[in-house]
Every structure is written in structure tokens, then in C-alpha cells.
């Protein structure tokens, strides 16, 4: 029921990006047939498109996932259903998260199969060097962060466009803010998925994931507290 509704709202966007994720590398490989581009730079192209596609999906799903549910005029319909408000917040988030992971998986598999077929070494390019677990997990972590932030702001502002705008403002503004702080006070502010202080990478990643979850928790508390 509610999961179906969330799927119904996001499926067009999801399917379009799933197709893009599946074909971008094979199409690039076919277009570049007869050249050495895929062999030399395929891995770099894959890394770049992986992050770009996931970012677009994270921002889009974050805004679409709660575009109508918590809006002024429709919240009274949803919140008079016999389920807790936290259920609605987390169910919507879970559907978007599953779709984000699905796009990431398809894009990775399509990229890997393509590079295996056309590249001398699918895990190494002349441009960026080798693909490591980090080059996959870092954009994934950042996109999870962006998704949770956008979803939470959409819930808090009760409007998809406002949520998307506010989230993009933060995502673009935060690095600039960090640079300003570093320039003025020589303090280095960490930005996801960078390691935090001297903590190990795994610990930093866990903290970034927890911060992302805190955004959704804040949205849940707001929805539970708010009066319709």
C-alpha cells in the first residue's frame, strides 16, 4: 500500500535513470570503437559517470519521494491512516534508498562488464589510475548523504522543489563555507566523504552515514511534532 504508493511516485524517474545507468558505458564503448579511448580512459569515464548519475538520482529521489505526502493540503489524508507518522517518513525514505542502490549496482555492473570486454585492464586507466573500493564507496557515501539531506529538507519544507533547492544550496554552499573557514581561521572542516580529523576511514564513513540518518530522524521528529 504505502510502499506501492512510493514506488508509483518514483518509478518513472527511477526507470529512466536505471536505463541511463545500464547503457551509458556500453554506448560510450560502441561509439569509441576503433579508438583506444575505452582501453585507455574507460575506467576514468566510468568513475565520473558513476558519481554523476548517482548524484542526479539522489537529488531527484530525495525531492520526489516526499513531494506530496507532507504537503499542506494532503497531509490530513495520509495522517488519518492508521499508521504512525514515522512509518510514512521511513517507508518513503527506504523506497528511495533501495532505488538509489539499484541504480548504483546496475551502473557498476554495466560499467564493469563493458570495461572487461573492451579495456585491457578494467580496473586501471591512464587518467585516474586504479579503481579501488574507495572510488566506488566515496561517491556512494556522498550520494547517500545528499539523498538523506534532500529527502529531509523536502519533508521539513513540505515541498519537493523547496527541498531540492535548499539541499543544493547546502551541498554547493558547504564546500565554499569550509574554504572560507580554512582561509580565515585555518580550521579544516571535514566534508563528506572525507575522513574526520584523525579517525580511520571506516570510522569516518560510519559517522557520515549516522549524520545522514540524523537528517531523516530530524524529519521524522518534525513530522511527529507538527500539527496539521
Amino acid at each position: 500500500m504505502y510502499f506501492w504508493k512510493c514506488w508509483r511516485d518514483t518509478r518513472s524517474f527511477f526507470i529512466v535513470f536505471l536505463i541511463i545507468a545500464a547503457i551509458v558505458m556500453p554506448v560510450a564503448a560502441v561509439v569509441c570503437l576503433g579508438t583506444h579511448l575505452v582501453a585507455d580512459f574507460g575506467t576514468s569515464a566510468f568513475s565520473a559517470t558513476f558519481g554523476l548519475i548517482l548524484m542526479a538520482v539522489a537529488l531527484g529521489l530525495g525531492a520526489i519521494g516526499a513531494i506530496h505526502e507532507f504537503a499542506e493540503n494532503t497531509a490530513h489524508f495520509l495522517f488519518t491512516k492508521p499508521r504512525s507518522r514515522s512509518y510514512f517518513v521511513w517507508a518513503g525514505w527506504a523506497v528511495g534508498f533501495a532505488e538509489l542502490l539499484a541504480v548504483a549496482t546496475v551502473n557498476f555492473l554495466a560499467g564493469w562488464l563493458t570495461l572487461s570486454r573492451y579495456s585491457k585492464n578494467p580496473f586501471h586507466s591512464a587518467l585516474f589510475g586504479s579503481i579501488t573500493v574507495h572510488t566506488l564507496l566515496d561517491p556512494l557515501l556522498f550520494c547517500l548523504w545528499a539523498y538523506c539531506l534532500t529527502y529531509s529538507l523536502t519533508v521539513l519544507l513540505r515541498n519537493g522543489l523547496k527541498g531540492l533547492g535548499a539541499s543544493m544550496g547546502i551541498l554547493f554552499g558547504l564546500p565554499l563555507f569550509a574554504v572560507a573557514i580554512r582561509w580565515r581561521w585555518h580550521i579544516k572542516l571535514p566534508f563528506p566523504p572525507e575522513p574526520i580529523g584523525g579517525l580511520p576511514v571506516v570510522m569516518s564513513s560510519i559517522i557520515w552515514i549516522l549524520v545522514a540518518m540524523l537528517f531523516v530522524l530530524a524529519a521524522q521528529l518534525f513530522v511527529e511534532w507538527t500539527e496539521i
Partner: protein, 293 residues
């Protein structure tokens, strides 16, 4: 019929310094149709929102189907159907998809009721909600509420945007089908004719205060408007005297019972009783609201 479907005690909602609802005490008997009357902004919707847990009361208590609204909200919502004053729903979903969405929440959901009311109310089930006329959007809300198999229907101005034929169909459905199932119907309206046509009980709210609550039959048989002339006649409100309006030496009393004995009491005080007439719901409503103003 002595069981209570909705009972409130001193239910209050304050926004900053505004008393949206100022301590109302309602009693809606189980299985009854109750018309909750009031002008726009009188406090009807805020009262309904508190009953459904959409808004927290500032003070007071309320029970719905014998359950406390603060502690047993989920259980109340499982057995209560609601039609909102704002008839907006998800724009891209069709009525069929809204049925699919709503069905899973309620174990008592009836697909045969969906078919029946969709046909009766002539709802285009395959058209997107945003493309439906205002009247059809209202009908979709009603369809979802009526198909839920609820013990209590709370309808906030359910006939908004409906044409006279649809209003007639809806009132017929509520009285025939609702009462057949033993369902309690609590509906707010400012359409006095609708309330008078189907309600057994009525409550009048104005500026957040419940001015009157009574059986409609009692209103017809007992309530009277007494017009009298005299000096310094009594102006106290009591269980017998619902309202008093004084203009110079002329007094207009709305009495709830024993109008003859009340008029006799006025005569003993030197008053000249000029008229004792029965009252319609419209006249009582206007008397009460004017007095408040």
C-alpha cells in the same frame, strides 16, 4: 443508543492568544447522525482535527468510540473514516489507484462498496485526480470513506462542490447505508437544510463555544420563541432559556422546554407576552449566532 461514539469534556485549542475551540463538551450517541453546525471559522474543523489526532488539544479530554484520543489514536483511526474540508489528494493518482492505496490500511475495507458507490456517484475511476472536477474530487473522498467499513464517519463539510443531485444521492447513502450498518455519522456543515433533513442530533458552535446541543425532534416539539414586552424582565441563560435578546422593552426568549409555564412566569412579572411560536433549526441557529455577535 445510550453508548457514546464521541464524547468531549472541555476540549480546548488555543493558537497564541486565539481560542479556536474554547472548552466544548459534545456527546454524540453511537449509531446516530449528528450535524455539527457553525459558520466559517466557528471551530468545527479544529474540533474534528483534535478528534482525529491531527492537532493536539490545549486542554480537555475526548473519547472516540470509547477510546482516548491521546492514547489510542491508531485504534481510533482504524475504525474511523474521514472526509476532509480540503478535498485535495495526490494529483497524479486515479481514483482506482487511490482505492488500491487506501485498501491495505483497513481490514474492514469493502471492494463491493467501492464498485457500488463508484457507480452510484458516477465517478470516473481511471481519470487522474487532478483532472477531475471539484465535485468528482469530493466524491472520491466520499467513496474512500464509505468503502472503509468504518464504525464512525467524520465528514467535514462533505457536500462542498457537489451539485444538488449528488447532494441528494449522498444524503440518501448516508441515511440508508450508514444507519443500516449501525455506523455513527458526525458531519460538520453550514447547510442547515442538510442537517435538518438527515440528522437526529445537532450541535451549534460559534466562536469556539458550543451554544446548543439537542435532538432535532426536541427542537421541533419543545423549542419555542417567546416575544414579550415589559420592564426589567429576566435575562439569565439557563437550561430552559437558550438565548435572550433585549431591545428596549422588548424581549425575545428561545426556550428549550415548558414554553407555556415560562411565559406564565413572565406574565406574573408584569410582562405582556405577545407571541409563542415554534422554531425551525434555521431560526434557532440565527438566534444563537446573532446573540453571540
Amino acid at each position: 443508543m445510550n453508548e457514546v461514539a464521541i464524547g468531549t469534556e472541555g476540549l480546548t485549542k488555543t493558537y497564541a492568544n486565539i481560542h479556536a475551540v474554547g472548552g466544548i463538551s459534545l456527546t454524540v450517541p453511537r449509531g446516530a447522525i449528528y450535524g455539527f453546525l457553525g459558520r466559517n471559522g466557528a471551530g468545527k474543523t479544529t474540533t474534528i482535527k483534535m478528534l482525529l489526532g491531527l492537532t493536539r488539544p490545549t486542554a480537555g479530554a475526548a473519547h472516540v468510540l470509547g477510546m482516548d484520543i491521546a492514547a489510542e489514536r491508531m485504534a481510533i483511526l482504524r475504525r474511523t473514516a474521514f472526509v476532509s474540508e480540503k478535498k485535495t489528494l495526490y494529483p497524479s493518482l486515479t481514483p482506482s489507484e487511490l482505492v488500491r492505496f487506501s485498501r491495505g490500511f483497513y481490514p474492514t475495507w469493502s471492494d463491493s462498496a467501492v464498485e457500488k458507490y463508484a457507480r452510484l456517484l458516477e465517478i470516473p475511476m481511471k481519470q487522474r485526480f487532478e483532472k477531475l472536477s471539484n465535485g468528482n474530487q469530493t466524491k472520491v473522498w466520499l467513496l474512500l470513506a464509505l468503502s472503509q467499513g468504518a464504525d464512525l464517519l467524520i465528514l467535514d463539510e462533505p457536500t462542498t462542490a457537489l451539485d444538488p443531485v449528488s447532494v441528494d444521492q449522498l444524503l440518501h447513502v448516508l441515511t440508508e447505508d450508514g444507519l443500516d450498518r449501525g455506523c455513527t455519522i458526525f458531519f460538520s456543515s453550514h447547510q442547515l437544510e442538510e442537517v435538518e433533513r438527515i440528522a437526529e442530533y445537532t450541535g451549534v458552535i460559534e466562536q469556539g463555544k458550543l451554544l446548543m446541543e439537542s435532538r432535532l425532534d426536541d427542537i421541533k416539539s419543545e423549542f419555542r420563541l417567546i416575544t414579550a414586552a415589559g420592564n426589567a424582565l429576566p435575562t439569565q441563560i439557563s437550561s430552559q432559556v437558550l438565548s435572550v435578546m433585549a431591545e428596549g422593552n422588548f424581549y425575545r426568549y428561545v426556550v428549550t422546554k415548558n414554553a407555556e409555564s415560562f411565559a406564565a412566569g413572565l406574565s406574573q412579572n408584569g410582562a405582556t407576552v405577545t407571541n409563542i411560536v415554534p422554531l425551525s433549526l434555521r431560526e434557532i441557529f440565527l438566534q444563537l449566532v446573532r446573540k453571540e455577535q
